[in-house]
Assembly symmetry: C2
Homo-oligomer: 110 residues x 2
Amino acid sequence: MSIASDIIRGHTDTIILAHLMHGDSYGYEINKSIQRKTDGLYELKEATLYSAFRRLEQDGSITSYWGDESTGARRRYYSITEYGRHAFNELLSEWERARVLIDQLIAVED
Amino acid sequence: MSIASDIIRGHTDTIILAHLMHGDSYGYEINKSIQRKTDGLYELKEATLYSAFRRLEQDGSITSYWGDESTGARRRYYSITEYGRHAFNELLSEWERARVLIDQLIAVED
DNA sequence: AAACATACCTTGACAGGCGATGTATGTTGG
DNA sequence: CCAACATACATCGCCTGTCAAGGTATGTTT
């Protein structure tokens, strides 16, 4: 892992919601997708991932249901809600603002 | 405050070190400078600021000394060390990488 | 005299990340 | 055939950074 978790902290929810904007998915798949997208540079720790699911479901951003796999391990699918889409957009624009702010604050030139 | 602290979290040290790259400074002034730079959009909470100073001094990134104000409240000045400059550069490039990574992960298009 | 600005500091609570550990199913290499 | 690995989910308890609240002290302005 080459990225400090304190930098990613606060983006976990956004990352998960972004994935669910494409359609329903489940934990393992979401994590694999993150690894693929970042060429293995980043992954969510399982404990982080599942605690995020709990958080997001509690606040109404996602809902979940068990898949009907006839074979293999069972999967719990997650679906983004209308509220979740709205929350995601908020998080996105917050990120835009934060990115500018941080760049401003850590620039050595003034 | 319009930026969630979980997004800025992990940048506190970088922000402080960036300021000290210009020269020695003290807590109150650093915080005022942050508010100025961001037009009041962001400020470090005092508890956060001073706990960051402690952290940075402990790991050898900064050193401190009391100013010799003949009038007004006393000031504790902080100075970035050679190690601190190195650490700052590391943090900077980590931010570059993280920014790209996050953008990649929260993009809805793929 | 009160309010405000400058300036520092500590305590205790809280939230998110994560190492460790556990469960269960299915596939594959030797 | 069985050990190792991949898939897939879940929880517990620790650690770390943030911050509300509170405190101290000096100087200026109203």
